[in-house]
C-alpha cells in the first residue's frame, strides 16, 4: 500500500514536472517565434540602399524647355576647350604643379 502511494506521488510529481517543462517549452517556442521576426530587421536595412539609389534616380530630369539650345551648349563646349587650351598654354610656358591644375571659369568645371 505504501509502495502504491509512493508510486502515485511520484507519478503526480512527474506529471507536474512534465507540465512545467511543457509550459517552459511552449514559452521558449513563442519567444523563438518572436526571434524569427527579428531577422527581418536586416531586411529593413537592405531596403535602405535601394532607397538611396532611388533618391539618386529621383533627381528631377531637366524638362526639355529648360535645356539650353544645342547651339548654346556647343558654344559652351567651345569656350571650355578654349579656356582649357589657354590654361594648358600657360602651364607649358611656365610649368608648375599649381599651373597644371589651375581653375578656369568654365561652367563645365564649376
Amino acid at each position: 500500500m505504501e509502495m502504491l502511494l509512493m508510486g502515485l506521488c511520484m507519478s503526480v510529481f512527474g506529471l507536474g514536472i512534465a507540465a512545467l517543462a511543457f509550459g517552459a517549452a511552449t514559452r521558449s517556442q513563442s519567444s523563438d517565434s518572436n526571434s524569427t521576426v527579428q531577422p527581418q530587421l536586416p531586411l529593413v536595412k537592405a531596403v535602405a540602399p535601394a532607397r538611396f539609389f532611388s533618391d539618386r534616380v529621383a533627381i528631377p530630369p531637366v524638362a526639355p524647355h529648360q535645356q539650353v539650345p544645342i547651339e548654346v551648349l556647343l558654344l559652351q563646349i567651345e569656350n571650355h576647350v578654349r579656356m582649357e587650351q589657354a590654361a594648358a598654354e600657360v602651364f607649358l610656358a611656365f610649368p608648375s604643379q599649381a599651373r597644371l591644375h589651375s581653375k578656369t571659369s568654365s561652367p563645365f568645371v564649376n
Binding site: 544645342i70 563646349i77 582649357e84 594648358a88
Partner: protein, 154 residues
Amino acid sequence: MTHELLNGLSSAEAKQVLGLGTRLIVPAGTELFRLGDPADRLFLTERGRIRLTLPMQVRGREQDVFVEERSPGQTVGWSALIPPYRFTLTATAAVLEAEVIALPREGLREYFAANPAAGHKIALNLAIVIGHRLQLFQTMWVREMQRTVEVRSV
C-alpha cells in the same frame, strides 16, 4: 607672311617650297578636309582661321565639337607627312573666308630628297608643331582626368 613650317629657311628656300603649293580659297563654313580622308596635302594658313573639330555625341546626336583653331602662319593637316596619311580631325574655314597654300606630300618628298638641308629644317619645324600639340593635349587630358578623379572621390 612667316610660316612656322618654314622657320630657318632662306628666302630662296622658302620661295621654292611655297612654289610647290597651290593657293586655295576656302569659303566660310566650308570643309577643307574631313576626319578619315586620305591626307596627301599639307596646308599653310595664309588668311582667315581654320577650325579643327572632332565628332562627339551631344544629346544623342553626333556633333562636330571644337578642338583647336589655326591662324595665319600656322600649319594644318600634318597627317599628310605622318603614316597612315589619314586626317584625324575635320578642318573648316571659320566665320570668315580662309586662304591656304596646299603642299602636296609627293612634291615635298622630292624637294627634301633634292635639298636635304632645307628638308631637315622643315622636319625640325614639323617636330616642334607636333610636339607642341602633344604637350598641349597631354596637359588638357591630365586636367580633365584630375577633375574626373575629384568627382569620383567625393
